[in-house]
C-alpha cells in the first residue's frame, strides 16, 4: 500500500466514522442523564432530510447544520414529552420514534429524489496538512469533522469539569437522590434529550451533506443502532465514543479496500468484522470488572415525582 492510498484510506475512515461520532455523543449525553433513547435512528434520518433540504435550497452549511440540529431536537422533544411527562415506556417510545422518523422522512423526502446538494468545501489546516501521510488524512476535511471532535471535548469538559455536568450525572446515577437534593430531574433530562436529539440530527445530516450527498429514504441504514452500541462500547465516555466510531469505520473501510486489492477473504467475514470487534471489545471491558463498565445507575428508569 503506497502512501497516497494509505492517506485516502484514512481520509475515508474519518468521513465514514463522523456520523457515528455525532450520533454516539447524542446518545451518550442522554444516557448519562439516565435516558435510554432507542430513537436515535429516527432522529438521524429526520436530521438527514432537514439538513439536505436546507442545502438543496442553497443555504450555507452552517444554516443546514443548525436546521438539522433543530429538526433532531424538535423530534426529540416529542420523545421527552412522552417519556418524562406522560411516563410512557422509554423502550417502546424510542422504537416508535425510530419508525416514526423513518416514515416521516420518507413521506416528506419523496420530493428530493434526484436532487443533489452542493459539495461541501474542505477546511485545510495550514501547516498540519503538510505532515506526510496523516496530514491530508486528518487535516483537510469539511468543518463538521472538526466539530465532531470538538463536541467530544466539550461534552467531556461539561460532564467532568462543570457543576451543571455533575448535576446531570447525578440525575443519571440516582434520580431520587438528585431530586431530594432539589434538582429538577425532569428539566435536566429534557435538556439532555433535546441536546442529544440535536447531535443525532447533525450526525444524520453529515450523511446527506458530505458522505453521500443525496437523500433517499432509509439511508441511515442502521447507523443509529450502531451509535447506541458504541455508547456501551465506550463505557459512556465521550473520547471513547470517538475511538469506537473510528474503529468501526476503520474496519468497514479497510475491508472494502482489502477487497479491491484482491485480498481474498470472504466478504461476509469482512462485513461481520466490525461487529465482531465491537462485541470482543465489550467482553474485554466487562471482564475488567466493576467500574470499567459504568452504566449510569438510573438508566432507562422512569422518574415519577412522589406526590
Amino acid at each position: 500500500m503506497d502512501h497516497g492510498l494509505l492517506t485516502s484510506v484514512i481520509h475515508a475512515i474519518v468521513i465514514a466514522s463522523t456520523p457515528l461520532v455525532f450520533a454516539g455523543l447524542g446518545a451518550l449525553i442522554q444516557e448519562r442523564a439516565g435516558v435510554l433513547n432507542l430513537g436515535i435512528e429516527g432522529l438521524m434520518i429526520v436530521g438527514a432530510l432537514a439538513g439536505f433540504a436546507s442545502a438543496v435550497a442553497d443555504y450555507p452549511l452552517v444554516v443546514s447544520v443548525v436546521v438539522a440540529a433543530l429538526a433532531g431536537a424538535a423530534l426529540a422533544s416529542v420523545f421527552a414529552l412522552l417519556v418524562l411527562r406522560l411516563y410512557a415506556n422509554p423502550v417502546a417510545t424510542g422504537l416508535a420514534l425510530t419508525l416514526f422518523g423513518l416514515g416521516l422522512s420518507a413521506l416528506a423526502g419523496s420530493q428530493y429524489i434526484g436532487r443533489t446538494a452542493p459539495q461541501v468545501s474542505e477546511w485545510i489546516i495550514p501547516g498540519f496538512n503538510q505532515i506526510p501521510v496523516i496530514g491530508h488524512a486528518f487535516f483537510s476535511h469539511d468543518p463538521l469533522v472538526y466539530l465532531s471532535i470538538a463536541m467530544a471535548g466539550i461534552i467531556w469538559w461539561f460532564l467532568t469539569k462543570t457543576r451543571a455536568g455533575l448535576i446531570l450525572r447525578a440525575v443519571g446515577e440516582n434520580h431520587s437522590s438528585a431530586h431530594s437534593l432539589g434538582f429538577s430531574v425532569l428539566a435536566i433530562r429534557f435538556l439532555a434529550i433535546i441536546s442529544g436529539g440535536a447531535l443525532a440530527g447533525i450526525g444524520g445530516a453529515y450523511l446527506t451533506l458530505v458522505q453521500t450527498p443525496l437523500f433517499v429514504e432509509g439511508m441511515t441504514a442502521g447507523r443509529g443502532w450502531i451509535a447506541l452500541a458504541l455508547v456501551v462500547f465506550a463505557s459512556w465516555r465521550p473520547f471513547r465514543v470517538i475511538a469506537g466510531a473510528y474503529l468501526f469505520g476503520g474496519v468497514s473501510i479497510v475491508q472494502l479496500h482489502g477487497q479491491a486489492l484482491g485480498i481474498s477473504v470472504a466478504a461476509q467475514w469482512l462485513s461481520m468484522l466490525p461487529y465482531i470487534v465491537t462485541i470482543s471489545a465489550l467482553v474485554v471491558i466487562a471482564s475488567r470488572g466493576r467500574g470499567a463498565l459504568a452504566a449510569p445507575g438510573s438508566l432507562g428508569i422512569t422518574f415519577k415525582e412522589s406526590k
Binding site: L5, S8, V9, A12, A16, P19, L81, L82, R85, L86, Y87, A88, A92, T93, L95, A96, L99, F100, L102, G103, A106, G109, S110, I113, G114, R115, T116, Q119, L207, Q211, T212, P213, L214, V216, E217, G218, M219, T220, A221, R223, S252, I253, L256, H257, Q259, A260, L261, G262, S264, A266, A267, Q268, S271
Partner: protein, 367 residues
C-alpha cells in the same frame, strides 16, 4: 390531577400506537366485500423511492393500473427484508384476497414457494429466481445483455484500464453481470482489469458510497454497480469520473458522470401477465426477456461517450436483439483455466442461470 394524567397518558398511548400502526410496513386492508376486481400484490425489497430497482418495479405496477384502470386493484409493501419477514408479508397479501402476487427479489424465492403451497388458488410471480410450481411462475431480464454493452463502453473509455464494480451478493444474476461486462470490456481492451467489491447489501447508500470511493482511490476511473442506490453515481460525479446507472436512469445524480444506464422495464411483462390472469390463460412459465422483449433498455448515452463508440454500442445492441450476438460466446475459460466455452460456442441458459464462477482474467475470488 390524577384524572388529567390518565387522559394525557391514554392520548399519548394512542399517538404512539397510531405512529407504529401507521408506519407498520403492511398495507392497510382495503378488501371490498363484493369485488370482481383483480387484486394484484407487489412485494418490494427496497423503498419505492430508491431511484433504482424497486422504483422500476413500481413503474411496472403503475403501468398495470394505467392499462386496466378500475378493473384491477394493486397493493404493494416496500422495504421487505428477505427471509421470514417476507413470508409473513406474502401470506398476509394472499389471505387479504390478492389474485396474483409479484415478489420482486431473489431472496423471496423460498418464502414465495412456501406461501404458494398454502394458497393454491393464488398466482405467484417470482422475479430472478429458479424455483417454480403450478401456481408459481418466474421471470427475469437478461440484464447481462445490457452489461455486455456497458462493458464495451467501459473498456473503450477507461484511461487507467481499471473498472470498479460494486456488487451486492454472489448470486448467479450478479456474477453473470460481472462476467458479461468483463468479457465485453476485455474484447475491446485486452489490458482492462476489474476490481470487484462485495458490499453484502442491496441498499445502503453510505456503504455503496464508501465502496465507490475505495475503488476510485485504487485507480478505477469507471464504476459499475449491482446495488440499488444512486450513491456511487453521485460519488463518480463528485470525483469527476464516469459510471453506469443501475436499474433506472440516474442522470439526475450524475449529469456528467453517467455514460448510460441499464433500465429494467417491467411494464410490458406485468401488463401481459395480469392480462393473462384476467382472461384465465395464466400458467406457470419461466420468462427471461432481454433487449428483444423490451425488458432490458438503455438510458440515453452521456455526453462523454464519443460518436464512434455510440455506433459500436448500438450495433452490439442490435446484434443481440436480432440474436446474432450472444454475450457469452467462446472461447471462454473459467477463472481457474478450465475450458468452459469452445470457440464459437454460446452459453446455455441453464449454466447462465446457475452461474457461480468467474471467467478467466477476473482477479479475486467469489465470496
Amino acid at each position: 390531577m390524577k384524572k388529567s394524567n390518565l387522559v394525557i397518558s391514554v392520548l399519548a398511548l394512542v399517538t404512539v400506537i397510531a405512529a407504529v400502526v401507521f408506519f407498520e410496513p403492511v398495507e392497510p386492508k382495503k378488501t371490498v366485500a363484493v369485488s370482481d376486481k383483480v387484486k394484484i400484490g407487489f412485494v418490494y425489497v427496497g423503498p419505492v423511492a430508491d431511484a433504482g430497482w424497486t422504483y422500476e418495479h413500481d413503474r411496472g405496477r403503475l403501468a398495470v393500473e394505467a392499462e386496466y384502470g378500475d378493473k384491477v386493484e394493486t397493493v404493494f409493501v416496500e422495504s421487505v427484508s428477505e427471509g421470514p419477514d417476507a413470508e409473513r408479508v406474502i401470506a398476509q397479501m394472499a389471505s387479504d384476497g390478492a389474485n396474483v402476487i409479484f415478489t420482486t427479489s431473489f431472496g423471496y424465492m423460498n418464502p414465495t414457494i412456501k406461501v404458494a403451497q398454502q394458497f393454491p388458488n393464488v398466482k405467484f410471480e417470482h422475479a430472478t429466481g429458479y424455483k417454480r410450481a403450478d401456481n408459481v411462475a418466474t421471470y427475469s431480464s437478461r440484464f447481462y445483455e445490457g452489461r455486455h454493452v456497458l462493458g464495451l463502453i467501459a473498456g473503450k473509455m477507461t484511461k487507467t484500464n481499471t473498472i470498479g464494480y460494486i456488487a451486492s451478493f454472489p448470486i448467479p444474476e450478479v456474477v453473470r453481470g460481472i462476467n458479461a461486462a468483463y468479457l465485453a470490456a476485455k474484447s475491446v481492451n485486452p489490458a482492462v482489469k476489474f476490481k470487484v467489491i462485495w458490499v453484502s447489501t442491496w441498499f445502503d447508500p453510505g456503504k455503496e458510497a464508501d465502496a465507490a470511493k475505495a475503488l476510485i482511490d485504487q485507480g478505477a476511473d469507471i464504476l459499475m454497480q449491482h446495488t440499488d442506490s444512486a450513491a456511487p453515481m453521485k460519488i463518480a460525479e463528485e470525483r469527476g469520473i464516469y459510471a453506469f446507472g443501475q436499474a433506472s436512469d440516474q442522470a439526475a445524480y450524475g449529469p456528467n458522470a453517467q455514460l448510460t444506464a441499464i433500465i429494467d422495464d417491467w411494464a410490458p411483462y406485468y401488463v401481459r401477465r395480469v392480462g393473462d390472469v384476467m382472461n384465465g390463460s395464466w400458467s406457470s412459465t419461466d420468462t427471461w426477456g432481454g433487449f428483444d422483449t423490451g425488458m432490458v433498455a438503455l438510458a440515453p448515452y452521456g455526453k462523454a461517450v464519443p460518436v464512434d463508440l455510440r455506433k459500436m454500442a448500438d450495433e452490439a445492441r442490435k446484434a443481440i436483439t436480432e440474436g446474432r450476438l450472444h454475450a457469452f460466446t467462446g472461447p471462454v475459460n473459467k477463472q481457474d483455466g478450465t475450458p468452459w466455452l469452445k470457440a464459437g460456442e454460446t452459453a446455455d441458459d441453464g449454466t447462465l442461470l446457475g452461474m457461480n464462477f468467474y471467467v478467466e482474467g477476473i482477479e479475486g475470488s467469489l465470496p
